[in-house]
């Protein structure tokens, strides 16, 4: 990665006056091209996930029927209706097949023009399923991490701020969770509750908050004695206010780094769970469950192994790279 001159100046401390910390951080972040690629990749994936219902659906995006223009994809009419309705004009989605459309006559077809990434064992379009799978994988990854983040931050904050008995209890709790074989916990939670995407998120969230909690606790121990906390306390602010308004934002940087890695781990774990058959419920597709369905056909249906595996790998790598770069950027000691 070649370094650009203005950045070098920036580094030497001649920062343009008035530029915010966030802006500086972003520019520092952007100095590494690969991490930029990673971030844009994540953004692209997020866009695909967000717009999946319009990117891959059998329902036309826009059509002219007997009663004028309308958008079946938007109004969420069932796919069957859409194909049977009489229409004079229609704009279809880029991938004009819904992920749940079953066609046994084309099952396990290799990639072709009609099915660019092939079909699965029920003849469903793999590309369509992967686009919708991105939704599941990212949603699970992000929300599980959010749960971990919130739970970890609160517990860590309590432990770090109050110390004493609270700290002792939280520390023991962290220890218990850390020493608990993680898979068992996830299995138990998945078995206990009705299988749903939320169960998976909660299971993952409840097993991965410890690193955030430890980080926040450590930061709090460090900064609660610092001037601004003292100042806030002196001005009569309540504990909650001090924690949330003053301390937490200051502890946020390392937590965000850890969260970025957390998303990567959650996506990996979700796919592993789906691979073991314990993930998201049917007929939803996640990348892991497409891979799992490939297991029976691995020697033959290479497209069922390759594409979802690549999707998991690249997305996880993107979050990891972004997280690493974030860490470097936020770490004032690193160059």
């Amino acid at each position: 990665m070649s370094r650009v001159a203005p950045d070098a100046i920036l580094l030497n401390g001649n920062e343009p006056a008035g530029e915010s910390y966030a802006r500086v951080s972003w520019r520092r972040f952007g100095r590494n091209r690969l991490s930029l690629v990673a971030v844009w990749y994540i953004v692209a994936m997020a866009a695909i996930a967000l717009f999946a219902p319009f990117l891959a659906t059998s329902a036309p995006l826009l059509e002219k029927g007997e009663d004028g223009w309308r958008s079946p994809a938007l109004t969420g009419r069932s796919d069957l209706d859409a194909t049977q309705r009489v229409r004079s004009f229609a704009i279809h989605a880029p991938v004009p097949v819904s992920p749940t459309v079953i066609d046994l006559s084309v099952r396990l077809s290799p990639p072709s023009w009609k099915h660019p990434l092939g079909t699965d064992d029920l003849g469903r379009d793999v590309l369509s399923r992967m686009i919708h799978g991105a939704r599941i994988s990212l949603a699970v990854g992000l929300l599980a991490t959010l749960i971990a983040l919130v739970a970890g931050s609160i517990l860590g904050a309590i432990a770090g701020y109050y110390g004493g008995a609270a700290d002792w209890i939280v520390s023991r709790l962290i220890e218990v969770v850390l020493c608990f074989p993680f898979l068992f916990l996830v299995l138990a939670i998945v078995a206990l509750f009705k299988p749903s995407i939320y169960t998976v998120m909660i299971a993952l969230g409840l097993t991965s908050w410890t690193s955030e909690a430890r980080l926040v606790r450590g930061e709090f121990l460090r900064i609660r004695e610092l001037e601004f906390a003292e100042a806030a306390r002196a001005s009569g602010a309540g504990d909650a206010r001090i924690i949330f308004r003053h301390l937490l934002p200051n502890a946020l940087a390392p937590v965000l780094v850890s969260a970025s890695f957390g998303v990567a781990t959650a996506i990996l774990t979700e796919s592993a769970l789906s691979f073991l058959g314990l993930g998201v419920p049917l007929p939803m597709a996640s990348w892991g469950s497409i891979l799992a369905s490939a297991r029976e056909h691995i020697d033959y249906a290479w497209w069922l192994v390759l594409f979802p595996g690549l999707a998991i790998f690249t997305t996880v790598a993107a979050f990891n790279l972004a997280g690493e770069r974030l860490r470097e950027t936020l770490d004032p000691r690193s160059s």
Binding site: S78, P281, L282, S293
Partner: protein
């Protein structure tokens, strides 16, 4: 016999099974064609053996091993007809209550002791003793009259029953006789898990839990000696792994997934090394409708739901014709099967009409039918790890939606699923049965047989069916029994306590160095006589070309 609704646990449901087409018999023209002695056969176990004590056998894998180590009182031949085993002859009283067996005087246990009537008596007592927990075998002897069962002399035993049961004789195939002098000492349940003394053609050479069971041929076997010297039963739980191991020659036989079987069976690179076979066993898949769940109590609703199953497409495209649609509780190979009962055809419009006559219509226009304001939502439970279950459920979900039924799929692990089924705490479940040679379906559909008493998991109740099942199991005349079961077939097909789906043929891959392989009608490759005991290994030299590049 129990043989097992292992499907519940192992989700085998999928491999299914296939018609009799004895494609190749053992007559292939290499060497002089005559069976050779010696060699090692490596068989696959999909799950580890839980006990070597044959009375406690709880899975088909336990029984696979027991078949080599022990000899049953009677064998079942290729057509599942009783033939001599340890008993060289028997006589059944006219009322069907007394069975007199004459033991083969040559029979010895592997420790050299002869097999005596006392050993048979001992084994029977162990089977019916609740303390043994012989959960698979005991039900076949639940009507035993212990007081009147006795040894007449050293080689003759008379077994008495309180009530006659038409299929009783076949259950003696599960009576794998134990030497009383060995098994009466120590803890019966715990001390014979890893050691075994039997009267079978093999002895236990080595047992590594979770890995393998190694069996060696007995030099002093008392009747027709098998050909193979060493039989290794290797635990390979993963399906793909097993296929790869078959190709590399690490195992000699395995069940194959239908798609794989179909794709590879004409692969020229494999034609030298692997023989592909398929056959039907007494196994079928079905959806259990819990009739305690109010919407499912109505037979019209059950029939309408069955009409949503695209059975023709499943048989044609999913199994490429290697499966059969089921019309009722009996498989087409059985004499109890009534060929005039039609299979329910896939008919979504008809399903919607039938639902409407039962009071279910889409009033609010959301695409889901309602009755009294309650939408028709169903939860279908499938076992985690079952690929067929997953496929089937996803397909059904799409079909039912078009008929106005919202189907929700729950993937549940085997133990939790059984818990819910036994408690009646479910709506629909995709399950499979592996049935006994005798078509007695009393435990499955009789109104007294709700779990935990029996296996009427759907809580079905119909007085006419109850009566037919009672008659069918006690009637001694074969002609009358057939009539009864044909009628029962009609009644059950009309009531649809299950949605019977498909009987899928089992597909197998076998290394071609293994010769003498044949199938029975109903049991497939194993557990009939001579079955696997007739196999032999082609001499080395040919072995070189079994590893494909």
């Amino acid at each position: 016999m129990s043989r097992r609704l292992v499907a519940l646990l192992l989700a085998l449901a999928c491999f299914g099974c296939g018609g009799r087409e004895p494609r190749i018999a053992s007559t292939r023209s290499s060497f002089d064609g005559s069976p050779q002695d010696g060699g090692t056969l490596v068989r696959r176990l999909e799950a580890d053996v839980s006990s070597l004590n044959p009375i406690l056998a709880s899975s088909r894998y336990d029984r696979y091993v027991a078949q080599y180590l022990f000899t049953p009182l009677i064998h079942l031949d290729r057509n599942l007809t009783p033939v001599p085993g340890l008993a060289k002859a028997w006589k059944v009283s006219d009322d069907g209550l007394l069975f007199r067996f004459e033991l083969d005087e040559r029979a010895t246990f592997s420790d050299g002791n002869p097999v005596r009537a006392a050993d048979v008596l001992f084994t029977l007592q162990k089977i019916v003793d609740p303390g043994s927990e012989a959960i698979q075998i005991a039900p076949g002897f639940e009507l035993l009259d212990q007081a009147r069962t006795r040894a007449i002399d050293d080689r003759t035993i008379e077994v008495a029953f309180r009530t006659a049961r038409a299929g009783q004789l076949t259950y003696f195939n599960n009576l794998l006789v134990l030497p009383a002098h060995v098994y009466s000492e120590g803890d019966f349940r715990d001390d014979f898990r890893v050691r075994a003394v039997g009267s079978g053609p093999y002895t236990l050479a080595k047992r590594t839990a979770g890995v393998e069971v190694v069996l060696e041929r007995r030099a002093d076997y008392w009747t027709d000696k098998p050909h193979i010297q060493t039989v290794v039963m290797r635990v390979v739980s993963d399906q793909n792994t097993a296929w790869n191991a078959l190709r590399t020659g690490e195992i000699d036989e395995t069940v194959l997934a239908p798609d794989l079987w179909l794709r590879e069976r004409n692969n020229p690179a494999l034609s030298e090394t692997i023989e592909f076979r398929r056959f039907y066993t007494r196994n079928y898949n079905y959806i259990a409708w819990n009739q305690r769940h109010p919407p499912l109590a109505d037979p019209r609703v059950r029939r309408a739901l069955a009409m949503c199953i695209p059975i023709e497409a499943i048989v044609r495209d999913l199994y490429h014709g290697t499966a059969r649609a089921m019309s009722g509780p009996f498989t087409p190979d059985e004499w109890a099967f009534n060929p005039s009962v039609p299979v329910i055809r896939h008919d979504l419009a008809g399903a919607a009409r039938l639902l409407a006559t039962a009071g279910w219509t889409d009033v609010d226009g959301d695409g889901i039918v309602e009755r009294d304001g309650q939408p028709l939502n169903l939860e279908l439970m499938i076992m985690s790890g079952s690929t067929t279950g997953r496929r089937f459920a996803e397909m059904l979900q799409g079909e039912m939606k078009q008929a106005g039924v919202a189907l929700e799929i729950s993937v549940v692990d085997g133990t939790a699923a059984i818990d819910r089924i036994v408690a009646g705490n479910y709506q629909a479940a995709y399950l499979s049965w592996d049935l006994d040679p005798d078509p007695d379906v009393f435990p499955l559909f009789h109104s007294t047989q709700t779990p935990p008493r029996g296996s009427n998991v759907v809580r079905y109740s119909n007085p006419e069916a109850d009566r037919l099942m009672e008659q069918g199991r006690s009637e001694m005349s074969q002609a009358k029994r057939k009539e009864i079961y044909w009628r029962l077939h009609e009644v059950l097909a009309a009531d649809q306590p299950y949605a019977w789906t498909a009987q899928v043929s089992l597909k197998w891959g076998i290394n071609k160095r293994v010769r003498g392989v044949a199938e029975s009608s109903g049991f497939g490759l194993f557990l009939w006589y001579p079955g696997e005991l007739a196999w032999w290994i082609a001499p080395a030299g040919r072995e070189l070309d079994r590893t494909s590049p």
